[in-house]
C-alpha cells in the first residue's frame, strides 16, 4: 500500500518474517500412526446392512405374531399399546443405528 503508515509497513513486514518454518521432525508420521482405522465398507453399504438387518429382524418378529392378532394389527385404532410401544422402540433403534453409523459426519 503506497500511503501506508511507516510503522504499519514495518509491522506487516516484521510479522510476516516471524513465520519461521518448523521442521516436521516426525510430526507427520506420529499423526498418521494415530489415525483411526476406517471401516472397509462404504457408507451406503453400512447403511444397507443396518437397514436389511432391521428388516429381517422385523420379519422374524412378524412371524411370531399369532394369526389371531393380524386383523387387530391391520386396524390402527385397535393396536394393543404394547405392540405400539414395541414398534416405536424398533423404529427408535433403527434410527439410532443409522445415526451412530454416520456419527463421523457431524464432526
Amino acid at each position: 500500500m503506497p500511503n501506508q503508515d511507516p510503522f504499519d509497513q514495518w509491522l506487516d513486514s516484521a510479522m510476516k518474517n516471524r513465520a519461521d518454518y518448523i521442521d516436521d521432525n516426525g510430526f507427520s508420521e506420529r499423526v498418521v500412526a494415530e489415525l483411526p482405522h476406517r471401516p472397509k465398507l462404504a457408507d451406503w453399504q453400512q447403511n444397507a446392512i443396518v437397514i436389511l438387518s432391521a428388516l429381517i429382524g422385523c420379519g422374524f418378529a412378524a412371524m411370531t405374531i399369532p394369526s389371531s392378532w393380524i386383523p387387530s394389527l391391520l386396524s390402527v385404532t385397535t393396536i394393543p399399546w404394547a405392540t405400539a410401544v414395541a414398534l416405536g422402540v424398533g423404529l427408535l433403534l433403527i434410527g439410532s443405528a443409522i445415526v451412530w453409523n454416520d456419527r463421523e459426519q457431524w464432526i
Binding site: 516484521a14 518448523i22 507427520s28 508420521e29 498418521v32
Partner: protein, 180 residues
C-alpha cells in the same frame, strides 16, 4: 518431481483411505498450524498436541470438505476450535468477543527500554484475542472475511481487534526502525 495438488491428495485420502497422501498433507501444513498454535498457546508441547488433534479431526472430516474451499482456511478453523475447546476445558478461556484489558503492559521504564524493540515481547502484552487475530491476519495472511469464517466472530469485532492491536503495538514499540 511434480508435486500433487491438495485436491489430488484429498481425493486419494477420501476415495482410497490413502494414509500416505494424508501424511503428505500434514507435512505440507504442519509448520503453519503448529506455529500459530504455539503463538496462541505460548506452550510448545500443548500446541503440538492441539495440532495433532487438529489433523486427526481433519482426517475424520475430510470426506465432508468442500472441494471449492481453501484447505488452509478449513484447517485453521479446526485448529481454532481445538484451541478454544482446550481453553474452555482448562477454564482459562477469555471469550474473544471481550477485550482483555487485564493484561496491561509493564510500566517499569527500565523494562520498557529493554524490550522496546522486541516484537515478541510486545505481542505478549496484547490480549489473547488481539494476539490471535493479528497472527491470523499479519503472519498467516488471512483476509478479514476468512477470519470471520475461521473464528466465527463478526467482521466488526475482527476489525476492532486489528485496530486496537496495531495501536497497542505502536505504543509499545515507539522507536522501531522505520526503514527496516
Amino acid at each position: 518431481m511434480i508435486q500433487e495438488t491438495d485436491q489430488e491428495l484429498i481425493s486419494r485420502v477420501v476415495k482410497r483411505d490413502d494414509r500416505q497422501a494424508f501424511g503428505l498433507l500434514v507435512n505440507r501444513y504442519q509448520s503453519r498450524v503448529r506455529q500459530s498454535l504455539r503463538q496462541w498457546c505460548h506452550n510448545h508441547a500443548t500446541a503440538d498436541d492441539l495440532a495433532q488433534e487438529t489433523f486427526l479431526k481433519a482426517y475424520l472430516g475430510l470426506k465432508n470438505f468442500r472441494q471449492d474451499a481453501q484447505l488452509n482456511s478449513w484447517l485453521y478453523r479446526i485448529a481454532y476450535r481445538c484451541f478454544a475447546d482446550f481453553h474452555h476445558r482448562e477454564k482459562r478461556y477469555t471469550p474473544l468477543e471481550q477485550e482483555d484489558e487485564s493484561q496491561q503492559p509493564s510500566h517499569d521504564p527500565v523494562d520498557q527500554i529493554h524490550h522496546q524493540r522486541d516484537l515478541s515481547w510486545a505481542l505478549k502484552q496484547l490480549s489473547d484475542a488481539q494476539q490471535l487475530i493479528l497472527d491470523l491476519h499479519l503472519t498467516q495472511g488471512f483476509s478479514q472475511a476468512e477470519m470471520t469464517n475461521i473464528t466465527g466472530l463478526p467482521l466488526g469485532t475482527i476489525k476492532t481487534h486489528i485496530l486496537r492491536g496495531r495501536e497497542k503495538l505502536r505504543q509499545l514499540l515507539q522507536e522501531v526502525p522505520q526503514n527496516a
